[in-house]
C-alpha cells in the first residue's frame, strides 16, 4: 500500500513550481494580466522543456507513460503559480491523441503536442457537459460556435466537443474566427471561437466511452488547479500573519485570525487527498472514477473560492488591492468554479451516478 507521494512525484511538483516561479516573475505575470495577449511563452516553454506535456503519453509513443495523478500534480503546481496558458487543454489533447484510433491525427499532431511545440486548447461548448456539445463535424471540416475557449489566439489546435458528445481536433486557420471575451480570469483569457468549415479530425465518435473518460480527466485537472491555487492563498495568508504586526503582536497570534487560518488549512489539506484519489481512481479505471471526478471538481472548486475569499479577509485592505495579487487567484477561483460546469451541476451528476 502506498497513498502518499514518492520522491519522483515530489520532484515533479517541486521542480515544476521552482522553474515556473523563476521564469514567471511577478513582473511578467502582472504584465501579462494587464496586457491583451492570451498566451505567455516563457512559462509554456519551461513546462515543455521539462517534457511534462508528454507525461501521460505511453512510452511506446515517446512519452513518459505516467498517469493522471502526475498530470494533476503538474496542474496543481501551475495553479499555485497562477500560470497562464492552456495547460489543461494541452494535457487533454495529449491523452486524446494517445488513445484515439485515428492514427493519422495521432501521427500528425501527438509529437508536437507532447513536446509543447504545438499549442492545443479545449473548446467544449454548450453547458460543458458532453450531451450539450454542438459543433458539427464530418471528420474533415467542422462548423459551430463555442464560448470560453482559453488561449484561443495562441492555439494551433482545438480539442472540440462535437454534437451528441464526440470529440474532434480542429486546426486553427482562416476558417476559425476568434473573438476575445473580457475575461474575469485575467491569467487565462478566453474567447468565443467560430468554426466555419475548419479542418477537423475525428478523435472519438459520439458514444465512445473515452469521451466521458477525457471529460473526467478534465474535471480532475481543474480540481488540481484549484487545489494549487487554494494552497497558494493559504500559504500567503499564513506568512502575512506571521510578519504583519498590530497592537505590538504578529496578527497570527490573535485567536480569531489563527482560527481563520486553521480553517483555510482545513479547506486545503484534506481535499488534497480527494484529488489524489480521484486521479488514482481514473488511472486504475475504477468503477467510481467518474463519480469521484465529479465530486472532486465540485468540492475543490468550492474550497478554492472559500479560501481566496478568506485570504482576502485575512489580509485586510492590502489583500483587496490589485497589486498585491490575491486578486489573480480570486479570479482564477471564479474561472475554475464555472468552467466545465458548476459545483451544483457536478453534485447533481454525482447523485445520479450513485443511483440516487
Amino acid at each position: 500500500m502506498r497513498f502518499h507521494l514518492d520522491s519522483d512525484q515530489i520532484a515533479i511538483q517541486d521542480t515544476l513550481f521552482g522553474v515556473v516561479s523563476e521564469v514567471l516573475t511577478r513582473e511578467k505575470l502582472d504584465a501579462f494580466i494587464d496586457g491583451e495577449g492570451d498566451f505567455e511563452p516563457d512559462s509554456w516553454a519551461a513546462v515543455s522543456e521539462l517534457e511534462f506535456f508528454g507525461l501521460m503519453v505511453p512510452e511506446a509513443l515517446g512519452g513518459s507513460g505516467l498517469g493522471l495523478l502526475e498530470a494533476a500534480l503538474v496542474s496543481e503546481s501551475l495553479g499555485r503559480a497562477a500560470a497562464p496558458g492552456p495547460f489543461i487543454g494541452q494535457f487533454l489533447t495529449a491523452i486524446a491523441l494517445s488513445s484515439t484510433t485515428n492514427e493519422t491525427a495521432r501521427d500528425a499532431f501527438l509529437d508536437g503536442v507532447a513536446k509543447g511545440k504545438t499549442v492545443s486548447t479545449f473548446a467544449f461548448g454548450g453547458n460543458w457537459l458532453p450531451e450539450s456539445w454542438s459543433v458539427e463535424s464530418d471528420g474533415k471540416s467542422a462548423r459551430g460556435e463555442v464560448r470560453f475557449v482559453p488561449s484561443a489566439n495562441a492555439a494551433s489546435l482545438f480539442l472540440t466537443g462535437t454534437k451528441n458528445g464526440g470529440i474532434a481536433l480542429i486546426e486553427a486557420g482562416d476558417e476559425v474566427a476568434i473573438n476575445r471575451h473580457r475575461s474575469t480570469d485575467r491569467s487565462r483569457p478566453a474567447s468565443a471561437v467560430k468554426f466555419d468549415e475548419a479542418a477537423a479530425h475525428t478523435l472519438f465518435e459520439p458514444g465512445d466511452p473515452l469521451v466521458q473518460r477525457l471529460f473526467d480527466a478534465a474535471l480532475v485537472l481543474i480540481a488540481a488547479d484549484a487545489l494549487g491555487g487554494a494552497q497558494y492563498c493559504a500559504d500567503l495568508s499564513v506568512s502575512y500573519a506571521k510578519e504583519r504586526e498590530q497592537f505590538g503582536q504578529p496578527i497570527g497570534r490573535f485567536q480569531a485570525l489563527k482560527h481563520q487560518l486553521s480553517t483555510m488549512a482545513l479547506n486545503v489539506e484534506p481535499s488534497r487527498s480527494l484529488v489524489w484519489y480521484a486521479a488514482h481512481a481514473w488511472d486504475e479505471e475504477q468503477k467510481d472514477a467518474s463519480r469521484t471526478a465529479a465530486l472532486a471538481k465540485a468540492h475543490l472548486c468550492d474550497r478554492f473560492v472559500e479560501v481566496t475569499r478568506d485570504a482576502i479577509a485575512a489580509h485586510g485592505g492590502i489583500g483587496y488591492t490589485w497589486e498585491y495579487g490575491l486578486n489573480i487567484w480570486f479570479r482564477r477561483s471564479v474561472f475554475d468554479r464555472a468552467v466545465l460546469g458548476s459545483p451544483s451541476v457536478h453534485r447533481e451528476r454525482a447523485a445520479t451516478l450513485a443511483g440516487w
Binding site: 453547458n127 464560448r147 470560453f148 471575451h181 473580457r182 475575461s183 474575469t184 480570469d185 478566453a190 504583519r244 504586526e245 498590530q246 497592537f247 505590538g248 503582536q249 496578527i251 497570534r253 490573535f254 480569531a256 485570525l257 473560492v305 475569499r309 482576502i312 479577509a313 485586510g316 485592505g317 489583500g319 483587496y320 488591492t321 490589485w322 497589486e323 490575491l326 486578486n327 480570486f330 471564479v334 474561472f335 468554479r337 464555472a338 468552467v339 458548476s342 451544483s344
Partner: protein, 398 residues
C-alpha cells in the same frame, strides 16, 4: 407598534415635496450651468431648513433642532426626486462634526463654509501602511518648526483621494509620549510640493483609494484640532459617526431585490432558476436576514426618535450588512454560472447584465474591509455589547 411616520411628518413631507417640485428642475438646465444650479438649489434647501441642519446659521447651515423623522423624510423625498443633498464625502460626514465640537472659531470659519460648498474636498488621513485596525500605531511625524508643522510620512486607504484638496490626519507629534498620547489631529492643504499621491488599484480594477506621501509637507501651527497629543480622542468622535452612517437597510433591500431579479433571469435545469427548489430556499433564507436587518434599522430609528437607547443592536448593523451582503454575493455567484467568466464592462459604460454581479461579489469582499474588518466588529459586539473582558493582546499593545 406603528411604522408610519405620523401626521406631522406627512404634513412635513408635503412641504418638502412642494419645495422640491418648485425648485428642482434639472432637465431645464444647460449642462454648463449645472454646477451653479445645484449650488443655488442647495442654498435654497438650506434656507428652507432641509440641508445642513446640524450646522449653525453663522457658518451657513440651517441650524435646526435634531429631528430623526424630519431628517428621514427629507432623505426619502430628496432621494425620490434625485435632488442633491448635502455635499457628500468625508468633509461633511467626519471633519465638520469634529470641527463643530472641537475646532477653534477660526478653524470653523476657515473650513466649514468651503467644505459645505464643495470647494474643499477632504481626504481622511488615518491609516498607514502597516496600521490596519491598530489605528493608533501612527508613524507619520509632524514637528513644530516656528509657526509651521513639518510633516513626513505616508497615509493610505484615503477614499476620494483623487479629488481631495485637503486632509484631516492623525500624526505623531510627541514621539516620547505613550502610544495614544503622542498623536495630534492636523489639517493639511494637499496642494503643495511636499505632498504627492498615488491611486491604489483594487480587485475590481478601479481605483477607489489613494496613497499619500508627505515629504517635508507644511501646515500652519494653528491647523491643529484639539490640543497637542489629543488627536486620538479627537478622531474617536468622528469615527463613531462614520460607523453609524455605513449601514443602510434600503441598500441591502435593493441588493436582495436584484438577486431575486437575477434568479428570475437565469436558467437552471431548464427552468427559471427561481423555480429551482434549492434557489428558493437560498433566497428565502437570506430574506429572513434581510428582513431582520431592515426592521432592526426601523427599531434603531424608532429609539432615536423617542430618545431611547437601542442597545446592542446598534453595534451589529455594520457587520450584518457585510455578512448578508456576502451571502447575497455568494448566491449570485452560484446563479450567474458561466456569465461569471466574463468581466463586467468598465465603470461608466453599460454592463450586459448578469456579469455585473461580479463587481458585487468583489465589492462584498471589499465591504468587510472598509470601515473595520469583521473581526474588529465582532470584538466590539463582544466587548461593548456583551461586556466581555478586553482582548489581552490588544490591551498589551496599548
Amino acid at each position: 407598534m406603528d411604522l408610519s411616520y405620523g401626521q406631522a411628518a406627512e404634513a412635513f413631507r408635503k412641504e418638502v415635496r412642494a419645495f422640491i417640485k418648485e425648485r428642482w428642475a434639472p432637465q431645464s438646465v444647460e449642462r454648463s450651468d449645472m454646477k451653479a444650479y445645484v449650488a443655488a438649489f442647495r442654498k435654497a434647501a438650506t434656507e428652507a431648513g432641509y440641508l445642513y441642519r446640524a450646522i449653525p446659521k453663522k457658518w451657513g447651515g440651517s441650524e435646526q433642532s435634531p429631528d430623526v423623522i424630519k431628517a428621514q423624510v427629507i432623505r426619502e423625498e430628496f432621494t425620490r426626486a434625485r435632488a442633491p443633498m448635502e455635499v457628500p464625502g468625508n468633509g461633511m460626514n467626519m471633519l465638520v462634526p469634529t470641527l463643530l465640537e472641537r475646532g477653534t472659531e477660526e478653524q470653523k470659519r476657515l473650513f466649514i463654509p468651503p467644505t459645505m460648498a464643495g470647494d474643499y474636498v477632504w481626504g481622511q488621513g488615518y491609516s498607514e501602511p502597516g496600521t490596519g485596525s491598530d489605528l493608533a500605531s501612527v508613524r507619520t511625524r509632524a514637528e513644530l518648526v516656528g509657526d509651521k508643522w513639518i510633516i513626513n510620512g505616508q497615509k493610505i486607504w484615503t477614499s476620494q483621494g483623487g479629488k481631495a484638496t485637503h486632509m484631516f490626519a492623525l500624526v505623531r507629534t510627541e514621539p516620547d509620549a505613550g502610544k495614544h498620547d503622542g498623536i495630534s489631529y492636523l489639517l493639511i492643504d494637499l496642494d503643495q510640493p511636499g505632498v504627492s499621491r498615488r491611486p491604489i488599484r483594487q480587485m475590481t480594477g478601479e481605483s477607489g483609494f489613494f496613497e499619500f506621501f508627505f515629504d517635508n509637507a507644511e501646515t500652519p501651527a494653528s491647523w491643529i484640532v484639539g490640543e497637542r497629543g489629543q488627536g486620538w480622542n479627537v478622531s474617536r468622535t468622528t469615527l463613531k459617526h462614520e460607523r453609524a452612517s455605513i449601514g443602510s437597510a434600503a441598500m441591502l433591500g435593493n441588493q436582495f431585490e436584484k438577486l431575486v431579479e437575477l434568479a428570475k433571469e437565469m436558467t437552471r435545469n431548464g427552468q427559471p432558476a427561481i423555480k429551482d427548489p434549492e434557489v428558493r430556499q437560498a433566497l428565502t433564507r437570506i430574506e429572513g436576514w434581510v428582513m431582520s436587518h431592515r426592521y432592526s434599522s426601523y427599531r434603531i430609528m424608532s429609539n432615536a426618535i423617542h430618545g431611547d437607547e437601542a442597545g446592542i443592536i446598534s453595534l451589529m448593523m455594520k457587520l450584518l450588512l457585510t455578512e448578508i451582503g456576502h451571502d447575497i454575493a455568494l448566491t449570485a455567484q452560484d446563479l450567474i454560472g458561466d456569465e461569471g467568466l466574463v468581466e463586467p464592462a468598465p465603470a461608466g459604460t453599460r454592463g450586459r447584465g448578469p456579469e455585473k454581479w461580479l463587481d458585487q461579489i468583489m465589492g462584498s469582499l471589499g465591504n468587510s474591509i472598509a470601515g473595520g474588518t469583521t473581526n474588529i466588529q465582532r470584538n466590539i459586539i463582544g466587548e461593548r455589547g456583551l461586556d466581555l473582558p478586553r482582548d489581552l493582546a490588544m490591551e498589551r499593545g496599548q
